[in-house]
């Protein structure tokens, strides 16, 4: 399609007061852009301005450059369907941050307009890549409360579900429970039936749900919409087509045998909270202690057993306090029995506080804050619970005839993750170490068995101890494996009610993913993006950088090492584009060439300094806008170019920039490392890593490595930005001009 350009320069918001608009218009003129294509307007966003553009479109203009305010504002006004539209931010980046009517200010504005034109010349309208014969079915792994809820919710929303449970029957831990905590009003007797049978029946009788019991996922091949999942049911296996996956594999109880100091394994009458449920269920509410079958009359509950403790589980399983209060009520079904709860803090957040209040309001339930130091024998099967800093006394002990340890939950994903992390560790030490590891380490059961180059499970998250949690507070389902949504206790420690809410959320995201795949749109966070990476594989050297660096494992490779892009796994961050030394990965409106040409189009006068800054679109760019809003000034030698993610930063741009005479190169990205804030996982970290490699490029050019730097900046740190930037500019100025300017 032949491009017909329209350049529109706004004079409002003080732009005309800061920039010589006529001069700017002249500067915009070039081979492709004729004088008549360049127009100005007092208020471009006003109905008049918009109309002007629309009229030109009727006249055939299909490539629009709007030189006005930030693309973050007036997005409705400057929305021109069917045309390539490039917004040039001369309000925030020039008029509001540069001194009015100086030559420098003028050149900043002209550079931005020319850069915008350069981009518009190369950008094209996206056409979505819609994959063929997609599946809309949802696979739910795990038939516990979470899995069943997810299955039912998806089915009720009109989707077919395949539910895979490893046990003989559905229900998971709910099957073991004698009673549960009421979900709504906390009225006597405060313990109600789990009704798990009801849910199981509902699942098994739902025509939209197909249940595989005593089954596991042997292999998950392909990508969202096109998964081929092999399910093995004792021996025989079957392959089904799946759209998206809900991971509800649940949890296993913490290994209490590590808790000898609390008497577990030493005395039969020390049991875990799960074992206690089983006792209660077996005795139909009566508690007969294991050692001698005597009915327990004095039951001690030790909270945080092997939890909130770096030597065991560092985290809090968040359900144990309410659970022990509930179990205390079991004990109290016998009027002359008593239950004692020893806690560090009672944790019944939110509405559960009322459950705590009601459960405690029973003469035979006694609580005290205490640090339990041990459990010792008190003769004839009884035990002493020994404690310090208790409210009963600085040092105290209490006799009980049964002790219940409130042990915590370990996510089913932990063992596989630890094994795989170990494997990666070993691999870094060479193939022999890797081999040794594989031989020496027992291989745990995998859950997803993804047939991905980057590994079979969801990658672990620092500090999450195996939980398949999201790294983002605002986005609980922002998964590290597109199309796979974790829910329930595999994601975070939670109680049954929370798990059911979570199941609904995950099921919804699975549905949404299927829908987006069908429309050829990316999923969160670029959930509107129709573009996709389109590599010219003929020029691929099979260096495998893209396949290694893709944060979402979206790129596989064939036996020759040539990458195959799994588009519905892709999140459109452009990390592959930044990784590729051959510069062959391009999006319709985002490519090495586009950014490169924007950099090259910056005018570099001999006597001036010029610095290129690549900025993260989500954090640094808005921070710059806000800084402009506060009318803070920015050094005129800098030209900002937004990137989808710094992971897209390609080293060739630095070479281009310096060989053109640019004096410095700056990256503004988000925080990385633990608690990273990059929504493409390690974009800024990767950019930083590539920067560390930039040394040789610079050496080749005989340039100082301080000419390039990377800064981590959060969206709210705009007030620090001018300082940070100016320091860098000063440093570059100290170093002096880039010698390549002369050529």
């Amino acid at each position: 399609m032949e491009k017909k350009y329209g350049v529109y320069i706004c004079k409002g918001c003080g732009i005309a007061g800061a920039i010589d608009i006529e001069k700017l218009a002249k500067a915009a003129k070039s081979g492709a852009i004729k004088e008549e294509n360049i127009k100005t307007h007092d208020i471009m966003c006003s109905p008049g301005g918009i109309q002007m553009v629309k009229d030109d479109m009727k006249g055939g203009v299909n490539t629009i450059i709007i030189a006005a305010c930030s693309p973050r504002v007036k997005y409705e006004e400057f929305d021109f369907p069917g045309a390539v539209t490039e917004r040039v931010n001369i309000r925030e980046f020039v008029a509001w941050t540069q001194p009015p009517m100086t030559d420098e200010t003028q050149s900043v504005a002209e550079d931005y307009v020319i850069m915008g034109i350069a981009k518009a010349q190369r950008a094209e309208l996206p056409e979505p890549a819609v994959l063929e014969n997609l599946s809309r079915d949802i696979l739910v792994i795990g038939g516990g409360i979470t899995g069943m809820t997810a299955a039912l919710d998806a089915a009720k929303a009109g989707y077919k579900v395949i539910l895979v449970e490893k046990e003989l029957q559905l229900g998971g831990f709910a099957n073991k429970l004698y009673k549960k905590i009421p979900t709504r009003d906390f009225k006597e007797p405060l313990i109600v039936d789990t009704e798990v049978e009801k849910i199981i029946k509902e699942v098994e009788s739902n025509p939209n749900i197909k249940v595989y019991k005593s089954s596991k996922v042997e292999k998950t091949k392909g990508q969202p919409g096109l998964y081929e999942v092999t399910i093995s049911t004792n021996g025989s296996s079957e392959t089904v087509k799946i759209g998206a996956i809900v991971l509800a594999a649940g949890w296993i109880p913490y290994d209490a045998s590590k808790l000898g100091y609390l008497g577990y394994g030493v005395s039969k009458n020390v049991v875990t909270n799960i074992e206690f449920e089983e006792l209660a269920k077996k005795g139909k509410g009566k508690i007969f202690r294991p050692s001698d079958g005597k009915e327990a009359k004095k039951v001690a509950f030790i909270q945080c057993a092997g939890q909130r403790n770096p030597d065991y589980l560092p985290y809090c399983s968040s359900m144990c306090c309410a659970t022990s209060l509930k179990q205390a009520r079991y004990v109290r079904q016998n009027a002359d029995a008593l239950a004692m709860i020893f806690y560090i803090d009672i944790r019944t957040p939110g509405r559960l506080e009322s459950f705590y209040r009601e459960a405690q309001n029973d003469p035979g339930i006694m609580l005290t804050k205490a640090d339990v130091t041990g459990v010792s024998d008190a003769g004839n099967g009884n035990l002493f619970v020994e404690m310090e800093n208790s409210l009963l006394g600085e040092k105290a002990k209490v006799e009980a005839d049964l002790v219940v340890l409130a042990t915590g939950m370990v996510p089913a994903t932990r063992a596989p993750q630890e094994y795989l992390d170990g494997l990666t560790q070993a691999a870094t030490k060479g193939d022999d170490a890797k081999k040794a590891y594989i031989e020496s380490t027992p291989k745990p059961e995998f859950i997803l068995n993804l047939d991905y180059r980057q590994g079979p499970e969801i990658p672990s998250l620092e500090g999450a101890y195996g939980f398949a949690d999201s790294n983002f507070i605002c986005f609980q389902y922002e998964t590290r494996r597109t199309g796979v949504y974790a829910a329930g206790c595999v994601r975070q420690p939670m109680n049954m009610t929370e798990a059911q809410e979570d199941a609904a959320g995950a099921a919804f995201k699975a549905i949404q993913c299927i829908d987006h795949v069908a429309r050829g749109v990316a999923v969160h966070p670029r959930a509107w993006d129709l573009t996709f990476p389109d590599p010219q594989l003929i020029r691929c050297t099979a260096c495998k950088r893209c396949t290694e660096e893709c944060p979402f494992g979206a790129i596989e490779e064939d036996e020759k090492g040539i990458p195959t892009y799994m588009l519905s796994r892709c999140r459109r961050c452009g990390t592959c584009m930044g990784a590729c030394p051959e510069r062959i990965v391009s999006f319709k409106d985002y490519s090495v060439d586009i950014i490169g040409s924007m950099i090259k189009s910056v005018d570099v006068p001999e006597e001036e300094f010029r610095i290129i800054a690549l900025v993260c679109e989500n954090d640094a760019y808005p921070a710059l806008d806000t800084l402009a809003l506060h009318r803070k000034s920015i050094d005129p030698s800098i030209r900002f170019i937004p990137l989808r993610c710094l992971g897209g930063m390609n080293l060739v741009w630095i070479a281009d920039a310096f060989s053109k005479g640019i004096d410095g190169f700056l990256l503004l990205g988000c925080k990385f490392g633990e608690n990273y804030q990059c929504h493409f996982i390690k974009g800024s970290e990767l950019a930083n890593y590539r920067f560390s490699k930039v040394g040789e490029t610079l050496d080749r050019l005989q340039l100082e490595s301080e000419r390039v730097t990377m800064m981590q900046v959060a969206i709210d740190e705009y007030h620090k930005l001018p300082e940070m930037i100016n320091q860098f500019v000063e440093r570059v100025k100290e170093i002096g001009h880039n010698p390549f300017k002369e050529f």
Binding site: R357, G364, T368, G393, A396, E399
Partner: protein, 389 residues
């Protein structure tokens, strides 16, 4: 290192506290608001938070031999601000009752006074005694009058008989109380680890008495400030009535004693009742009676007024209130009916009066009446161990 407590929870005790008026006991979650809003507690190991925990676990050994439960005057500031709707004031009140039961002898009387089902029996005892006396005098059928033909309770039931009942009863009460209190004191000494022989408490006692007479502690209450007035009235009217009684004894036995000593009786010694309303003894008697009636009425009024913030109280409290009430009421009515010369009402009312007075004295060591002695003792002990200034 602190020595190790071996805590043995006692479910029965917990249930007793709850039955005894501490229904809210189990609501406490140890936030310690109560100890902060309480103006009566000392700053070190303040009450009532820790007492609430001990009571929840039924640790009576930590509760009874401890002056704190008595230092609490049930202002109910704690109750008003408790975030969980627990009522520490009431709980401690129940514990105090149990502590009286615990220390007083004979213990069965303690239990009897504390529980409804024995009420009739406890009343029956004095009723029977007085009926027997009256019957033996034949005064149940016809009652002699004075020379002047007025109603005379002295004629109805001569003081000699009354005193021969009340003197031993009073002695019994005093002895029981003495034993109970000394057990309490010993126990506190043991628990606090003091050596028993520690003299120099005379001045502590006087200080305590001054504190009681002045009602200083009641002033520190916020929620139930007005309780000072009612308690003040009841307290001082009792003293007034005590004086009256002594005075009457002088009137009654004075002449004969002086004769016996070969002296001429003073003219003001009027001998047996009734006495003219113009007589100062009558002034004091009637004034005190009215004060008592007003005081005890206010007690009831305030209890209802603050029932939200501090609760109404249990059987134990109300038994005491009713006894005092009926003493005041029957006392005044008896006098009025006598003056109005309505024999048919006067004698029965007087009879009831005697019964309730008996009830008050005889059961004092076990009823709420005992609180004044136990609390006083606790206050002395608190000063003794420097817990209180």
């Amino acid at each position: 290192m602190a020595q190790e407590t071996i805590a043995s929870p006692d479910l029965k005790f917990v249930n007793d506290v709850i039955k005894g008026g501490g229904e809210s006991l189990k609501k406490c979650y140890q936030c310690a608001t109560c100890s902060v809003v309480c103006n009566l507690t000392p700053d070190s190991t303040p009450f009532p938070r820790k007492e609430m925990l001990y009571a929840q676990w039924g640790l009576k050994d930590k509760l009874f031999p401890n002056p704190d439960i008595w230092l609490c005057h049930q202002c109910s500031d704690c109750t008003a601000y408790c975030p969980r709707g627990a009522k520490p004031g009431e709980v401690l009140n129940a514990v105090r009752k149990m502590s009286i039961e615990h220390y007083s002898v004979p213990s069965f009387l303690g239990r009897a006074v504390g529980s409804r089902q024995y009420l009739v029996l406890l009343l029956a005892i004095p009723a029977a005694i007085f009926l027997i006396i009256l019957a033996s005098l034949g005064h149940l059928s016809n009652v002699p009058r004075t020379g002047g033909g007025q109603i005379s309770y002295h004629e109805f039931l001569p003081s000699l008989y009354i005193d021969s009942v009340f003197v031993p009863v009073a002695l019994f009460a005093v002895i029981c109380l003495a034993i109970g209190v000394s057990r309490y004191w010993k126990d506190m000494v043991r628990a606090s680890g003091l050596r028993p022989s520690q003299g120099g408490i005379a001045n502590l006692i006087s200080a305590t008495i001054y504190e009681i007479l002045s009602h200083k502690r009641f002033e520190k209450c916020n929620v139930t400030k007005e309780r000072k007035i009612s308690h003040f009235l009841v307290f001082y009217s009792f003293i007034g009535l005590a004086i009256t009684t002594a005075w009457a004894v002088a009137y009654l036995y004075g002449p004969s004693i002086m004769k016996f000593l070969g002296l001429k009786p003073f003219s003001w010694m009027l001998g047996p009742s009734p006495y003219p309303l113009t007589d100062p003894l009558k002034w004091l008697a009637n004034a005190s009676a009215l004060a008592l009636l007003t005081g005890i009425t206010l007690v009831v009024v305030y209890r209802y007024r603050n029932k939200e913030k501090s609760g109404l109280g249990g059987y134990y409290d109300w038994l005491f209130i009713l006894v005092v009430y009926s003493i005041a009421a029957t006392g005044i009515l008896a006098e009025l009916f006598r003056l109005a010369d309505i024999a048919i009402l006067a004698y029965p009312v007087y009879f009831i009066h005697l019964v309730v007075v008996f009830f008050l004295f005889a059961y004092a060591p076990f009823s709420k009446m005992a609180h004044m002695v136990y609390r006083a003792t606790a206050m002395v002990f608190a000063k003794h161990i420097q817990r209180e200034p």
